[in-house]
Symmetry: C2
Subunit: 122 residues, 2 copies
Amino acid sequence: MDYEHTCMIRGDGGRTLRAILDQICNKWTLLVVATLDQGTLRFTDLHHQVPGISQRMLTLTLRHLERDGLITRTVHAEVPPRVEYALTPTGESLIPPALALAGWAIAHAPGIEESRAAYAAR
Amino acid sequence: MDYEHTCMIRGDGGRTLRAILDQICNKWTLLVVATLDQGTLRFTDLHHQVPGISQRMLTLTLRHLERDGLITRTVHAEVPPRVEYALTPTGESLIPPALALAGWAIAHAPGIEESRAAYAAR
DNA sequence: CGGCATCCCCGTCGATACTG
DNA sequence: CAGTATCGACGGGGATGCCG
């Protein structure tokens, strides 16, 4: 890894970068985006497919993603109401790097658990 | 992006994955790891090179990274004391995916800011 | 120099209840 | 069905001060 690339993550001192990263890397965003990679989903579908998320946090996460232009929110004027969420091109472009990080986490999870156990035993 | 890959991030329901991701993707971890990509650094060096981090959070972040086996902490028995931090191979392996995400954030930061401004103006 | 201990604020998050 | 409103607990994280 050469310095050019390293420079990138350190960027402007990390301020702007960290602001974006904080939005993306929070507790639920990556999981919601990854779930939407399946295609268009309704609110309830997401609620069931993202395990452990509360209605409140799903709503907030979706609002943030919509605000940042990563997903679209489509309200159908029907009874009962139907609201569909889908990734925008920008949102889709987040999938590969998100999976890269997720892949790393999965690949190194056992090692991390082991190291953590060894650390606790000291 | 096919379903096999998507499945990965959704994994076991996201529980284990999110636990690891929460550790890695927090406010400071990625920046500290990226800074250590330069090579071995002392505590004060890190404090200066990671802008905005408090002494407390730098200490905590370094302890977590050490516990998880991503960095090594070497204390030199000298006066004044000297403590050096360096990435382990596991820590180094986090750099590429971290840069992928950072690259995405930098590339899309203008678009996100724009979308956010448009959203606020509604 | 490189921490750890303490205090305290504030944002995050879940639970619950209510609405169109 | 798809939210909004409100409350309260919790913990991240900054400021400060002390220590080996």
